[in-house]
Symmetry: C2
Subunit: 467 residues, 2 copies
């Protein structure tokens, strides 16, 4: 243990750590009376509290009675849609898109996106989220909000083929311009919307650009069973097979460019329409592909299936946790997604022993970090990782007594039990007080802008939903 | 408006009120800038804030920016099981009962029950619950905790036939002894455990006692599909048909006593095993029967079905919201049950338009009050109802902006947004501070008692689970 001054030392916490193990379940462990030492935004030591006595530090947090976790990662969202929370309720998917969301989104100004993103970031910081993967329009504005509020983010500027080549070019330029932004907290991706809104030529072009520039790709695919069936009916292939044949799943695919410098990394949102025949395709791409699951919206839209997490894990595909946008999920609460993923997966598999709380914590940490391309960077409280840490208070009556800490965290604790949120060693929320964002002023201005934002009299929409 | 002193006046809130309407959805409305006047524990006026200017009151709460709701009702729980939160994780139902919960419950002392109940009441008050229906052992102790903490409760002392007639007699004596207790806040029920643990003779006897003493009955029935199938295989009838033929569903049943003074009121917990053939049976008993749904545990146990809420509503059967005990649900968060009921019902029906947020709020208020036999007494912010009120803060980033207040409440707000909980006009939590319970001391003593409570070396259990 060096005695040079640390930037931050957290003492006395119980820390979630990752250990060797055969299964995801076995890899989650807890270490009592732990100290976490942070220097230059990096975790430099995870040790006993007694070991840091006398180590000088610019800031110390006494976290006795609290649990330290790697910050949660929202692997798929549309942060600015926080402005649209509750505008399209109790509707089937196609009406949600065509009658409300896509008409309203044709009104979006940069200022709306900025306010929506600020609100979203405030919500996520308060919910223990330290990193989010965002997929939306006007992403320069979102990047600026990320720089301002201190979160980490994986950003992609979305495009549809209906808008011509300009959309794809903008997505590339955005990704190149912001890669490494906000002091390294921003990573970027190419962001085609989905196989049902981006044609095969554009997807293949995206795969080539991804190879050429070493950029990952973040897109929706096989969101639901209807999309898979429509794709089969129209093209004879599933959306996942479209990803493969357009080269997005890596160099082994039929039409992929030869000898790429780097494998494409693809983050697939939802995948509730992934079928049996897709599994070998995904298995061939294992190591280059991940899926984000956001189960709340699937229930709300009454989709007939959920993300096939068990089959994906068997195929070697990590599954990260997500919320999707607040216009479908109604919240950006990754903690709730963690609990709901455990519950829904047990139910879908008909197996109460599946997706234990420790498995859920593995999805929330290592698998989510892998999904957004940040494995080894975040997702674990281990030396060398960026200091993205949340401190959780379990003294409330709803989290007592603690017989099984993993179960308490997943099934009893809530996002509102997060007391402190830290990104890159910087405290963004202390004792539930946000330090980088002013919610009241954002909500006030957003309220004034809502009539113009919600106007659908013009008949425009950004895209037409037709699987 | 009288100007005699009020005990409590809440001003400036938006109040959830019930209005005339064809459907459950249409019956929920919101009234801005509202004042609620309380005298002697009763709501005496719900009016405009301007109308109460100058009205003297012992206590005033300025609730501008907050929403006033009828307090939530937990229609089926086992409060003392809060002590067992997390002891039996990721297990099938039969192992959960036989290997863990029923062996551990054979260790329960009155002090364990007292501490568990205190913890549960603290959690419920913090979660906006003002009334709970409890079904457990050593209920004298629970009644004492209810008297102490200020909640309202509907209590029943559970019994199994395996314990002989003494259990049934105790259940009756408890119900008679505590009816009207805690200043009228306690109502009571006879509480046979379930048709698979209480034989037909005991159920018929219970029906006669219920008629004789004007007591309702609270029991588990058709908890899951396996129980229904086992009942059909062994007895040729479903659990719901067992309730009918033993006279529990009312006077028209074959073996029921003639001309009872009052119809039996039956509260059925769970009912996920209710089948098509049960619906006419329940429809015949409409007005005398209700079901409590606690969907979290059904997912966690991976039961294949959930409570058939749509079919029950069509049959005229109210469905109240519940959590079950914290050893299966891991929380007593009725707010979460409300949201999950909406989500799971949409999914189960394959219909995103079903179980709207307003429908969910109807279940949470009028239907839950009906389920626990307190319709007209609680469940509505209307003059003449007891003053069981919660105030909810929607200024957090996760509940902004508000496009659709019902959706914000059900799908974005959480139990932790409840600021103030009031029962019978008495403030039990103010600005999230509990005024009648000391969580830290309860958790400390419970922690000391856990090794003895959890010991399973003796090989005893309170009952054997075999559907």
């Amino acid at each position: 243990m060096t005695t040079s001054p640390a930037d931050l030392i957290i003492t006395g916490c119980t820390a979630l750590v990752h250990v060797e193990g055969r299964t995801d379940h076995e890899r989650i462990a807890f270490r009592d009376d732990t100290a976490i030492v942070v220097r230059d935004g990096v975790i430099t030591a995870v040790t006993g509290t007694a070991q840091v006595t006398g180590v000088p530090a610019a800031e110390r947090i006494d976290a006795r009675g609290q649990v330290a976790l790697p910050g949660l990662i929202n692997c798929h969202t549309h942060a600015p849609m926080a402005a649209l929370r509750g505008v399209a309720e109790d509707l089937p998917t196609e009406e949600w898109f065509n009658d409300v969301v896509w008409p309203v989104e044709s009104n979006l100004t940069a200022r709306d996106v900025e306010l929506g993103a600020r609100l979203a970031c405030a919500e996520m910081i308060r919910g223990g989220v330290t990193c989010f993967a965002d997929h939306y329009f006007r992403m320069d504005t979102v990047a600026a909000v990320v720089a301002e509020c201190g979160l980490r983010a994986h950003l992609g500027q979305v495009f549809f083929s209906s808008r011509g080549p300009r959309g794809r070019e903008d997505s590339l330029e955005f990704a190149l311009r912001h890669r490494g932004g906000a002091g390294g907290r921003i990573t970027t991706a190419l962001a085609p919307h989905a196989p049902y809104t981006v044609d095969d030529a554009d997807l293949a072009h995206t795969a080539r650009l991804a190879h050429e520039h070493g950029l990952p790709v973040h897109l929706h695919a096989a969101e639901n069973r209807d999309q898979t069936e429509a794709s089969l009916a129209r093209h004879g292939v599933t959306p996942i097979e479209v990803l493969e044949r357009t080269g997005l799943l890596g160099a082994d695919a039929p039409d992929a460019p030869a000898a790429p410098d780097a494998p494409v990394e693809v983050l697939i949102a939802h995948g509730t329409g992934i079928t049996e025949r897709d599994l070998p395709v995904l298995e061939r791409a294992a190591g280059r592909v991940a899926v984000a699951t956001a189960p709340r919206g699937y229930l709300k839209f009454a989709w007939p299936t959920t993300t096939p997490v068990r089959a994906l894990r068997a195929a070697g595909v990590p599954v990260g946790l997500a919320t999707d946008g607040a216009a479908s999920n109604n919240s950006l609460d990754v903690w709730a997604s963690m609990a709901l993923t455990a519950l829904v997966q047990k139910s879908a598999e008909g197996d109460p022993r599946w997706l234990t709380s420790r498995q859920a914590l593995h999805h929330a940490t290592l698998q989510s970090a892998r999904a957004v391309g940040l494995d080894g960077v975040v997702g674990s409280l281990a030396p060398g990782h960026r200091a993205d840490i949340v401190l959780v208070d379990l003294t409330g009556p709803h989290t007592q007594p603690v017989h099984d800490l993993a179960a308490t965290l997943v099934h009893s604790a809530r996002s509102s039990d997060v007391r402190t949120t830290i990104v890159d060693g910087r405290v963004l929320m202390r004792d539930r007080e946000l330090l980088t964002l002013d919610v009241a002023s954002v909500a006030r201005e957003l309220g004034e802008r809502l009539p113009a934002l919600l106007d659908r009299g013009h008949g425009r929409r950004v895209q037409w939903y037709d699987t």
